[in-house]
């Protein structure tokens, strides 16, 4: 259903009653405040996307804390070389899980952690139930011996691999073994992590359990929570491994890593172009997350007055965010705004906020600040401010987050009553951006995306140079929409689409996603992904922000680095998370002499 306030389909779940129950009385104003698709789904906006409270690491950690999950170290059996086994027991509600990690001896090699490699520093497995230690050792052995050809069983939720950040990991171990704490500044300069994620292989891979089989009340039923929980566990393994190796090397002298430093450590991550293929492949998921985020932003900007407490909260968040960006390295790539520039833009917003609060001018404060952020001409400032708005609207955001599962179940299939004319009308209304693209030039078809023989890794070739374009994988939404529109134009408008698809079944997927666009807004990346000038980093940064990556630094236009869980809460002595996640890590690190005392 659409109307003049919002010319896109309104998600069926966002009824007037639901909105009213959440305190949104001005329904029309709310719909009018939602941003247009041309903004939300544009690569430039996606490039600037920031982690929010709705990000999956954040929703996972809040769930862990809310439900009192416990994480308990069962075994830390490492040699002085670093080789050995670490096992954690996890209790989540009525369910138990085991995370087991095999650690290889530290060598000289600094592994990249690419998909085609066969040797890693750490092999991990997340299993449902309390896996006996002997069985955990067997599982670890299967992983490290066979790697990509290895098989597990239905009790396993997935395998994961990781590598040491060789220099920093060794430094931390040596310093602890010498009875001192590592220099926090050096850790921060080194990226803030001592272990790098090298991938999660679940949802059926290697014979693991299919995610679809998890019941709705399962601790990992939410999208990406199982993957990101494994990533969280690597963070614990990294610190535990450093502690245990140091203690093995110097039993009398070694100290354990200070809790403040351990809490600051995150997990390093690098992502390539496969993430863009993921965004294209799952339009329902893409739309669902966008709906959540845009709904909360719209709710914030229609507030006719902002409470002093909320303004104070925003001021605190702005200060924390500015401090975070002040410490981040800049990217050398053109088109990436500098953290310093972002920090300055946010400081201007903070100043405006301070002046408005001082003047007790709280009417439509969020709207005005969001407008000021946009007017500053920086997409990064604008998206970061939007992310902070979502944090300030925590209660509403958490209610909206509860809609994710239902949104993701929005049907994506063929409407048997649809005709060729119907589909063309939808294309004209919602895919004008695709029809407007000139796809006849060589640069518009410059690239093709393919799967490599190396574990099916997604890669991108150049059509004019590389062989194999006939085997390209599907990312070309704009191209198929134009083709489909041309074919349908040759038919009588009343032709049932089912008749057309019997003859042209290769368009079934395209018709299904076009029909999805009548049920959900924001379902397509509005870009020609094959174009010479399309930058995969835009999609990669966007997807990483959804996962919860706090800051991403493109290494190239196709490869993006960052750190997960930096500053995230750790389990306390009772195994429970001690706090909810902060939007950014607090960088108030102790000096070495303070913590080694």
């Amino acid at each position: 259903m659409t109307d003049t306030a919002f010319p896109l389909p309104k998600p069926a779940l966002l009824t007037a009653d639901w909105l009213r129950a959440q305190g949104v009385e001005d329904g029309e104003g709310f719909w009018r405040a939602l941003r247009p698709e041309a903004v939300v789904c544009a690569p430039a906006t996606m490039r600037a996307a920031k982690s929010t409270r709705l990000g999956f690491t954040n929703s996972l950690m809040r769930r862990m804390r809310r439900e009192g999950w416990t994480i308990t170290l069962r075994l830390s059996d490492l040699q002085a070389t670093g080789e050995g086994m670490i096992v954690y027991d996890i209790a989540a509600g009525e369910r138990a899980f085991t995370f087991l990690a095999w650690c290889e001896a530290g060598g000289e090699e600094d592994r990249l952690g690419r998909f085609y490699e066969v040797d890693y520093d750490f092999y991990g497995s997340l299993r449902e139930g309390r896996t006996p230690t002997a069985q955990a050792r067997d599982e670890a052995e299967r992983m490290r011996r066979n790697v990509w050809r290895g098989r597990t069983d239905n009790g396993c939720l997935g395998w994961t691999v990781a590598n040491r950040s060789k220099r920093l990991f060794a430094d931390v171990v040596e310093t602890l073994a010498a009875g001192r704490q590592p220099d926090p500044g050096r850790i921060a300069e080194g990226g803030g992590y001592i272990l790098r994620n090298a991938g999660w292989y679940g949802n059926g891979r290697h014979g693991s359990r299919s995610w679809l089989s998890l019941p709705a009340d399962h601790p990992f039923a939410a999208p990406y929570h199982v993957d990101l929980f494994a990533l969280y566990m690597w963070r614990l393994v990294a610190a535990e491994a450093a502690n245990t190796i140091a203690a093995r090397r110097a039993p009398q002298r070694a100290v354990r890593l200070d809790a403040g430093i351990a809490g600051y450590l995150g997990v390093g991550n690098s992502s390539g172009i496969g993430m863009v293929a993921t965004l294209v492949r799952w339009p329902t998921w893409f739309a669902s997350y966008n709906v959540l985020r845009e709904t909360v932003i719209a709710r914030a900007v229609i507030r006719d007055s902002v409470a002093p407490e909320a303004a104070a909260r925003m001021a605190g968040l702005l200060a924390q965010t500015i401090a975070f960006y002040d410490r981040q390295p800049a990217s050398d790539l053109p088109g990436i705004e500098s953290p310093a520039g972002l920090s300055r833009g946010l400081a201007r917003l903070a100043e405006t906020l301070r002046a408005r609060v001082q003047a007790k001018d709280m009417g439509f404060l969020w709207r005005d600040l969001a407008e000021a952020a946009k007017a500053a001409g920086s997409a990064e400032v604008s998206e970061q401010f939007n992310a902070l708005l979502i944090e300030v609207e925590a209660e509403f955001a958490d209610a909206v987050e509860g809609l994710l599962g239902a949104l993701m179940n929005t049907p994506r299939g063929i409407d048997p009553a649809a005709t060729a004319g119907d589909i063309r009308r939808i294309i004209a209304g919602r895919y004008g951006w695709a029809l407007a693209l000139d796809l006849t030039t060589p640069e518009s078809r410059a690239h093709f995306w393919y799967k490599s023989e190396e574990n099916g890794e997604n890669r991108r070739g150049e059509r004019a140079v590389d062989a194999g374009a006939e085997r390209e994988t599907f990312v070309d939404v704009a191209g198929i929409v134009q083709e489909l529109d041309r074919r349908l134009a040759a038919l009588p408008a009343e032709t049932p689409i089912a008749d057309f698809l019997l003859t042209w079944p290769e368009y079934t997927n395209a018709v299904a996603r076009i029909l999805l666009a009548t049920r959900l807004p924001y379902s397509e990346v509005q870009a020609n992904i094959l174009h010479r000038d399309f930058l995969p980093m835009d999609g990669i940064r966007y997807l990483l922000s959804i996962y919860g990556l706090q800051y991403s630094l493109p290494y190239s236009t196709r490869w993006v680095r960052g750190v997960f869980y930096q500053g995230a809460p750790l389990p306390g002595a009772d195994g429970r998370l001690q706090s909810d996640p902060a939007i950014f890590p607090v960088l108030d690190l102790p000096r070495p002499e303070e913590v080694s005392a």
């Binding site: 690419r114 998909f115 085609y116 098989r151 069983d153 239905n154 949802n203 059926g204 891979r205 290697h206 014979g207 693991s208 359990r209 299919s210 995610w211 679809l212 089989s213 690098s270 992502s271 390539g272 172009i273 496969g274 063929i414 048997p416 009553a417 393919y450 799967k451 490599s452 023989e453 190396e454 099916g456 890794e457 890669r459 991108r460 070739g461 590389d466 062989a467 194999g468 085997r471 994988t473 599907f474 198929i480 049932p496 689409i497 089912a498 008749d499 698809l501 019997l502 003859t503 079944p505 290769e506 368009y507 079934t508 997927n509 395209a510 995969p536 190239s556 196709r558 490869w559 993006v560």
Partner: protein
Amino acid sequence: MRVSYGEMRRAAVDALRGLGLGFGQAEDAVEALLVTQAAFGRGYGLIRLAEAARDDSRPRPAPESTGNGQERIDLRGATLLPWAERIADLLRARHATGNGSHRLEVAGTAGGWVLPQIARRLALAGIASRIEWAAPQGGHPDEAGSFLCFGGLAGLAPGQVMLAHRQAPAGAAGRAGIVTGPEAASGLPAGARMVDLDAALAGFIAEGLPVDAAEHAQWFAEIAARVRLPTSERSRAQAG
């Protein structure tokens, strides 16, 4: 070896593409393949049949009216697997625009194991169906024998179908006669057995399926590999 649902689904899309199907058609056909494997253990057989019948120069099918409200689709030797979902949607479209019963003959085809999935899809849309399958002559080892299949009958859940062996009439080889609507409910033989496709699929999703490792490697991994490109240092750099 036990294979997971997510694992086979992923491999099956690539395997279907390796048989020459476009991405959209492979995505479309994969559910029929997985349901058939779960319920009858015949998903691999459908891939083998599709491989044997592959002919990329075959004319595209289209429904033709044969009078008296009946329609016919000639698949000209293609297997049913890539078309099963399209046939189900075509019949759903006919019911969306008109009440009563509809008759559709699908001729020149093979791979009858997938027909219960058409009955399931129709039943999920509230449409009863009766499908008469006459197996093609020649006796390919992966081919289903002739049978009758009923879906959407009163007392059956949408995911349940009734199956009964039948003696196909002479000259009807490689043909599926599908009747939908009120007329579909007649003619259920006394000896028909119920097969719960939804339960089989749910079991597959929850527990995975035991399969022959060599068969799996041959008919999924090897065919799927056809859509993958050889690697090189240049290729590795193209990942990011």
